[in-house]
C-alpha cells in the first residue's frame, strides 16, 4: 500500500504543490509574525538592558496604578532627595532623571516626529554621569548653559544641524514653551544614531526639571554603585536612608530592567496577537482550499480507489493511502511555509531599517517554539481539512470501479438545511453573546462565532450555489452568447464544488467588507457628533501621544484679538473602583459654547473643585445620581471623594467622566492639552483665522482645523488603520484565489472530452479561455456576495454592540462595497488565468481521444 501511495504522490506532484500553496502562505504568515515579534522583543530587551546598563538602583514614587495603556502611574518626587542618596555609602553616582517630550523643529519649520503615530520625540535631562547616561557624545559638549541642548545624531543628520546651530524646540509639557536653543553637542545611542527612530533632546538637568516637570520635582533618581557593591546591598542601604519618606520606593537596577521589559512585552503582545489573528484567518481559508481540493481529487479517483478495493485493498488501506497524501502535503507545505516565513521576517526587519526605524543590531530570532508551532499547526490544519474527503474515499464500494465515474450528488436537502442552519445559529449566538455579553472571553467568543458562521454558511452554500450562479450569470448569455451560457452552466453543474470554492473567498471578503462597514459607521458616528455637538469655530488638533499641546498655546490663542474663547481639553487616567478610566478636564464656564455634551441632569457650572460629571450609562451602571459621592484615585494625589453634579448623554467628545479644569490641575502633573477649541467673537470666525494660524505655527505638533477639516482628519486616521487591515487580509484573499485556480484546473481536467468536442465543432481557443474566465468570475462573485452579506451582518451587530461607546450610526459604504464586488470579479479573472490558458492550449485530438 505504501508503494501505491508514494506512486500516487509522485504522479500528482503538480497538484500537491498547488494545494500546498494554500497552506504554505498561511504557515509562512504565522512563522513570519512569530519570528518578527520575537526578533523585535529581543531587540527591545537588549535596548532596555543597555539603557539601564549602569543603573544599580532607582529611587522613585510608588506606583498608584497602571493606566489604560498599562503604564505605571507615578507622581514625581522631590529633587532634594538627591542629597540624602548621595551620602549613602556605596553610591558612586546619583543623578536626577526627568523625561518628557520635546519636538525638534527642522530648518523647514516642520517638527521631527511630531506626527504622533510614528516614533516619539523624547526629551530628557542630560545625565552627567557617564556610567548612567545611555548616550555618548560624538561631537560638541554637554549642555552647560540654560539655552543649550544635545540632540541625537539621526536628528542632527536629517536636519543638517551642527554644533552651534540655533534650533527651535517645543517642549510638550505643562510648562512647555517654543524657544530657540543652541546645539552644544550631538550624541549616539550605542552604535545606533537614535533608538528605533525616536528623536532625543537633552536639556541641562535644572532646565529639564523646569520645562518637563516642575522646579524641584523629578521622575526618579538614578544611582550607580561603587565597584564591588551588590545591587541588593545598595538597595537595602538606600531604603534605610530613605525610611520614613512616604510614597517613595527603591528598586534595583535589575528589577527596573525586568519591569521595563515586562511592560514592553505586555504592550507588544497586542501587536503579535493582532498579526496572528490574520495568520489564523489565512490558515482557515487555506483549510477550505485543502478540503475542496481533496474532495475533488477523491471524487475523480473514485474509480482508482474502487479498483484498489476490488483487488482486495481493505477500507483502512484506502483511507491510509489518501490520508498519507494529505499528511505529505501538510508536511511539505509547513516546512516550505516555515522557511518562507523566516525569510519574510528578516526582510521586514530590513525594511524597518530602510524606513529609518533603526532597530539596533541583533540577528533574527527563530525560537524552537516557533518552529514547533508552525509545523504542528500547518500539518494539523491540512490533515483535519482532508479528514472528510478521506473518509469519503473509504466509503467507495468496489463495484464503483465498474461504473462510469460517479458524478457528485448533493446530499439530501433537508439534512443540509438543518445542519447548516443549526451551525449558523450556534455561530450567531456565540458572536452575539461575545458582543453584548461582554466578559473576559468576549473577543474569543466573537472570533469563534464568526468562524462558525462561516462554516454554517459553507454548509448551506451548495443549496444556494445553483440559483445564485444562475442569477449572477444571468446577463452572460445575452452579453457574450454561448460562451457565457457554457460558463454559467459550468458554474451551476457542481454546486458543492462551486460553493466550497467560493466559501474560501467569502471569508476574506466578509472580513474586508466588515471592516469597511465598521469604519464607515465609525466615521459616520464621529461626523454625526461633530455636526450636532460641535460649536467651536476652530480646533487645534494633535496626533495624540507625545505631541500634546503645552497650555501656553491656549493662553496665546486667547490673546488673539477677535477670539472669544480658547479652551483646551485635558485627558488623563484615574482609578474608579478596581478599573482605570479616562477622565476629561474642561472649563465649565465656557464648554457649552464649544461643544454640547447633552447635560440631562444638574449643571456643569456646579462642578467646582470637588464635583464630577458622569455619562448617563456609566451613572446607571454605578447607581450614581446627582449628589452621590464617587471615590476616585489619582496617581498624584491619591483617593479623592467627588460629588456627582451633572449627568450627560453624549460621551463621544466627553468620555465617561468629566471634571473641571480646577480639579484637573489639582490632581494631575501633566497639564498639556489634547485639543484646544477656539471660538471667535460673533461674525469674526473667518477674520481671526490668519492670526490664530500664526500662533499655532509655532508649535509643529498642532494643526489648525475647522469642523470640516477635523472630520476629514478623523476619517483619515481610520483609513490608515483600515488600509493596514486590508493589507493583512490580502493573504487570505490570495489563498482563496489560488483555491479558485486549483478547482478550475481540476474541473478542466475532468472536462477534457467536453473541451475537445467544443474545439472540434469550432470553439476557438480564445473562447475556451473566455468560458473558463467567466465561470471563475461567477464563482468569485458568488463568494464575494456571500461575504458581503455576512459583512453587513457582522457590521450591524458590532455597531449595535458599540452604541454605548459612541458608534451609533450604521453606515454601509455603497461605493466601497461596489469596489469590493468589482475587485471580486477581478480576482475571478486572475484566478482563471492559468487554468484558462491550460484549457485553451489543450490538444484537440488528444482531448477527443482521451478515455
Amino acid at each position: 500500500m505504501w508503494k501505491v501511495t508514494i506512486k500516487g504522490i509522485l504522479a500528482h506532484k503538480f497538484r500537491i504543490v498547488l494545494t500546498s500553496i494554500a497552506i504554505v502562505l498561511g504557515v509562512s504568515f504565522m512563522t513570519g509574525t512569530l519570528v518578527l515579534s520575537d526578533t523585535i522583543s529581543r531587540t527591545f530587551d537588549s535596548l532596555i538592558t543597555n539603557v539601564n546598563g549602569g543603573l544599580s538602583a532607582q529611587v522613585r514614587a510608588k506606583s498608584a496604578f497602571k493606566d489604560e495603556q498599562g503604564q505605571e502611574q507615578r507622581s514625581r518626587i522631590d529633587a532634594s532627595l538627591l542629597d540624602i542618596v548621595r551620602k549613602v555609602p556605596g553610591v558612586k553616582d546619583a543623578e536626577i532623571s526627568v523625561a518628557g517630550f520635546a519636538v525638534i523643529v527642522g530648518p523647514n519649520g516642520k517638527g521631527l516626529n511630531a506626527g504622533g503615530n510614528g516614533p516619539p520625540p523624547l526629551a530628557f535631562a542630560w545625565n552627567p554621569s557617564s556610567t548612567l547616561n545611555p548616550v555618548h557624545l560624538v561631537a560638541g559638549t554637554a549642555p552647560a548653559a540654560a539655552d543649550e541642548i544635545v540632540i541625537d545624531k539621526h536628528s542632527a543628520d536629517t536636519t543638517h544641524y551642527r554644533v552651534g546651530s540655533r534650533i527651535r524646540v517645543v517642549t510638550v509639557s505643562s510648562k512647555g514653551t517654543s524657544a530657540i536653543y543652541r546645539l552644544s553637542g550631538i550624541a549616539k545611542f550605542g552604535s545606533a544614531d537614535s533608538p528605533a527612530g525616536a528623536t532625543l533632546t537633552f536639556f541641562r538637568p535644572d532646565v529639564a526639571e523646569r520645562l518637563l516637570a516642575s522646579p524641584g520635582k523629578v521622575d526618579s533618581i538614578q544611582i550607580a554603585a561603587e565597584p564591588g557593591v551588590a545591587q541588593n546591598k545598595l538597595v537595602a542601604d538606600l531604603r534605610t536612608a530613605l525610611r520614613g519618606r512616604s510614597g517613595i520606593e527603591v528598586a534595583s537596577g535589575a528589577s527596573v530592567v525586568q519591569e521595563q521589559q515586562n511592560n514592553f512585552h505586555d504592550q507588544f503582545k497586542f501587536f503579535t496577537v493582532f498579526l496572528l489573528v490574520f495568520a489564523i484567518v489565512a490558515l482557515i481559508v487555506g483549510s477550505f482550499v485543502i478540503y475542496n481540493t481533496f474532495s475533488i481529487t477523491v471524487a475523480q479517483r473514485t474509480r482508482e480507489n474502487a479498483l484498489l478495493r476490488a483487488v482486495g485493498a481493505s477500507r483502512r488501506q484506502v483511507t491510509t493511502s489518501v490520508f498519507l497524501e494529505a499528511l505529505t502535503t501538510g508536511i511539505v507545505a509547513s516546512v516550505i511555509g516555515l522557511g518562507l516565513g523566516i525569510l519574510a521576517a528578516s526582510g521586514l526587519k530590513a525594511l524597518l531599517g530602510v524606513l529609518n526605524i533603526d532597530i539596533p543590531a541583533g540577528g533574527t530570532v527563530v525560537k524552537a517554539g516557533t518552529i514547533r508551532a508552525s509545523l504542528v499547526v500547518g500539518i494539523l490544519v491540512t490533515v483535519l481539512a482532508s479528514l472528510i474527503p478521506v473518509f469519503k474515499a473509504a466509503r467507495v464500494p468496489p463495484i464503483a470501479a465498474m461504473r462510469e465515474v460517479a458524478l457528485e450528488r448533493t446530499s439530501a436537502g433537508w439534512k443540509r438545511i438543518v445542519a447548516g442552519a443549526l451551525v449558523t445559529a450556534i455561530g450567531v449566538l456565540s458572536l452575539l453573546s461575545g458582543l453584548f455579553g461582554g466578559g473576559s472571553n468576549a473577543g474569543s467568543a466573537v472570533g469563534f462565532g464568526a468562524f462558525i458562521i462561516f462554516i454554517g454558511v459553507t454548509i448551506l452554500g451548495p443549496l444556494i450555489a445553483r440559483p445564485a450562479a444562475r442569477l449572477i450569470g444571468w446577463p452572460l448569455p445575452r452579453l457574450v452568447g454561448v460562451t457565457g451560457q457554457l460558463a454559467r452552466e459550468n458554474a451551476m453543474r457542481n454546486p458543492k464544488r462551486t460553493s466550497a470554492t467560493a466559501a474560501a473567498l467569502m471569508i476574506g471578503v466578509g472580513l474586508v467588507g466588515f471592516v469597511a462597514i465598521f469604519a464607515s459607521s465609525a466615521t459616520a458616528s464621529i461626523n454625526h457628533v461633530i455636526d450636532h455637538a460641535f460649536r467651536a469655530d476652530y480646533i487645534v488638533n494633535t496626533s495624540g501621544f507625545g505631541s500634546t499641546l503645552p497650555p501656553q498655546i491656549e493662553s496665546d490663542l486667547a490673546k488673539v484679538p477677535g477670539v472669544k474663547i480658547a479652551s483646551g481639553l485635558k485627558i488623563g487616567s484615574m482609578k474608579v473602583g478596581s478599573s482605570v478610566h479616562q477622565v476629561e478636564g474642561i472649563e465649565p464656564a465656557v464648554v457649552d459654547e464649544l461643544f454640547g455634551i447633552g447635560v440631562s441632569q444638574g449643571k456643569l457650572t456646579d462642578l467646582g473643585s470637588d464635583g464630577i460629571a458622569v455619562y448617563k450609562n456609566t451613572a446607571k451602571s454605578k447607581h450614581l445620581v446627582i449628589g452621590s459621592t464617587l471615590a476616585v484615585q489619582f496617581a498624584k494625589t491619591g483617593i479623592r471623594h467627588l460629588t456627582v453634579r451633572a449627568i450627560y448623554n453624549e460621551q463621544a467628545l466627553a468620555g465617561p467622566y468629566v471634571i473641571s479644569l480646577a480639579t484637573y490641575r489639582a490632581n494631575f502633573d501633566d497639564l498639556t492639552d489634547l485639543l484646544i477649541l477656539v471660538k471667535a467673537q460673533p461674525g469674526q470666525a473667518e477674520h481671526v483665522r490668519a492670526a490664530v494660524e500664526s500662533v499655532v505655527k509655532r508649535y509643529p505638533q498642532g494643526k489648525l482645523q475647522d469642523a470640516k477639516q477635523y472630520k476629514a482628519d478623523q476619517a483619515k486616521q481610520f483609513t490608515q488603520i483600515v488600509n493596514l487591515v486590508y493589507a493583512l487580509l490580502l493573504m487570505a484573499i490570495i489563498i482563496a484565489v489560488f483555491g479558485i485556480a486549483i478547482t478550475l484546473a481540476l474541473s478542466i481536467f475532468e472536462r477534457t472530452h467536453e473541451i475537445g468536442l467544443l474545439r472540434a465543432v469550432g470553439m476557438s481557443s480564445a473562447q475556451v479561455w473566455g468560458t473558463v474566465e467567466l465561470e471563475s468570475v461567477i464563482i468569485a462573485l458568488f463568494g464575494t456576495l456571500l461575504g458581503l452579506v455576512i459583512a453587513v451582518f457582522f457590521g450591524w451587530a458590532l455597531v449595535q454592540a458599540l452604541k454605548d461607546q459612541g458608534i451609533d450610526q450604521f453606515a454601509v459604504p455603497q461605493i466601497g462595497l461596489l469596489i469590493i464586488v468589482i475587485l471580486g470579479a477581478v480576482f475571478g479573472i486572475v484566478a482563471a488565468m492559468y487554468p484558462g490558458w491550460r484549457a485553451s492550449r489543450m490538444n484537440v485530438l488528444d482531448a477527443i481521444a482521451t478515455e
Binding site: 460562451t483 453543474r493 472540434a760 469550432g762 485530438l845
Partner: protein, 254 residues
C-alpha cells in the same frame, strides 16, 4: 461492382468536396517510427456518402482527423473544396471546422450542460450566427427529436444522443460532415436509424458525408467505400451491400 487499387475520379455530377494529395502522417522517430498514412491520394466527391473502412491501425481515423482539420499531415496536402487547409493556422483551422464542417463522434458528442436544441445549434452559436430556421426544423424532423429538444443529454438514450449529434452536424449545412464510428456505441436498431438519416440527407439534400467505420452493415449505407490497410488505400467499391463489403474484407484480410 468494380474494384480497383487506384483512387478513382468521383461521379461526374459533382465536384470534389475533399481531397488528400500524397498525404503522409508519421508518428515517432527512428526505431519507433509509425507511418499511419503512407502517401495517400484520395478524393471525396461532394453530394456523396463515403465510408472509409479498414482494420484497427489501418490509419482510417488518422485520415479522417487530417481531412477534418483536427490533425496535421507530416507530408502532402488536404484541400477542402477550393481551400488548401494544410498550412492554415490553428485559428483559421478552427473557423474552417466551425463554418464549413460537421462532426459526429463515437462517444462524447454532446455538451452535458446544454439542452438537445442548444447542442444542435452549438456551432452556429459559437460563430455568433443565426441558424437557417427552416433547415433546422427540417433536420429536427428528420432525426425525430422534436419532443426532446429541451432535454439534457443525461435525459436521453444513447441512440437519441447520437441523433442529436447527427442533427448538430447537419444543422449548419456544412460542406462536409465527418463521422467517426457514429454507430459504434449504440444498439443495432438505433444505429440503423442514424445511418438512414445520414443517407437520407445525402440523397435529398446533396449533403457530403465521410464516415469511418469498421462495421460492414454501416458501410453498406454509403454510396462508396474506401478500404485502408497499413496507411495505404488498398481498394474501394461503389454502391456496396453488407455482403459485398464483407467479401472484400475477407479478400483483403486473406
Amino acid at each position: 461492382m468494380t474494384t480497383t487499387t487506384q483512387p478513382r475520379t468521383p461521379p461526374t455530377n459533382a465536384g470534389v468536396a475533399a481531397r488528400a494529395i500524397d498525404a503522409s502522417k508519421v508518428y515517432g522517430e527512428g526505431e519507433a517510427e509509425v507511418r499511419a498514412l503512407d502517401h495517400i491520394s484520395v478524393d471525396f466527391a461532394s453530394g456523396q456518402f463515403t465510408a472509409i473502412m479498414g482494420p484497427s491501425g489501418s490509419g482510417k481515423s488518422t485520415l479522417l482527423h487530417c481531412l477534418a482539420g483536427l490533425d496535421r499531415l507530416t507530408e502532402g496536402q488536404v484541400v477542402l473544396g477550393d481551400l488548401d487547409i494544410t498550412a492554415l493556422h490553428e485559428k483559421q483551422m478552427t473557423r474552417v471546422r466551425r463554418d464549413r464542417l460537421g462532426f459526429i463522434f463515437q462517444t462524447f458528442n454532446l455538451i452535458p450542460t446544454l439542452t438537445a436544441l442548444e447542442n444542435i445549434t452549438l456551432p452556429m452559436a459559437l460563430a455568433g450566427s443565426d441558424p437557417d430556421q427552416q433547415w433546422l426544423e427540417h433536420v429536427i424532423d428528420i432525426v425525430g427529436l422534436r419532443s426532446r429538444l429541451k432535454h439534457r443529454p443525461s435525459e436521453l438514450s444513447g441512440g437519441q444522443q447520437q441523433r442529436v449529434a447527427v442533427a448538430r452536424a447537419l444543422a449548419s449545412r456544412p460542406e462536409i460532415v465527418f463521422a467517426d464510428e457514429p454507430t459504434g456505441n449504440v444498439d443495432s436498431k438505433a444505429g440503423a436509424e442514424i445511418l438512414n438519416f445520414m443517407a437520407q440527407v445525402v440523397r435529398d439534400a446533396g449533403q457530403t458525408i465521410v464516415m469511418v467505420t469498421h462495421d460492414p452493415v454501416a458501410a453498406a449505407h454509403a454510396g462508396r467505400v474506401v478500404f485502408l490497410a497499413d496507411g495505404k488505400i488498398v481498394d474501394e467499391c461503389s454502391d456496396p451491400t453488407a455482403d459485398s463489403v464483407l467479401d472484400l474484407m475477407r479478400k483483403l484480410g486473406g
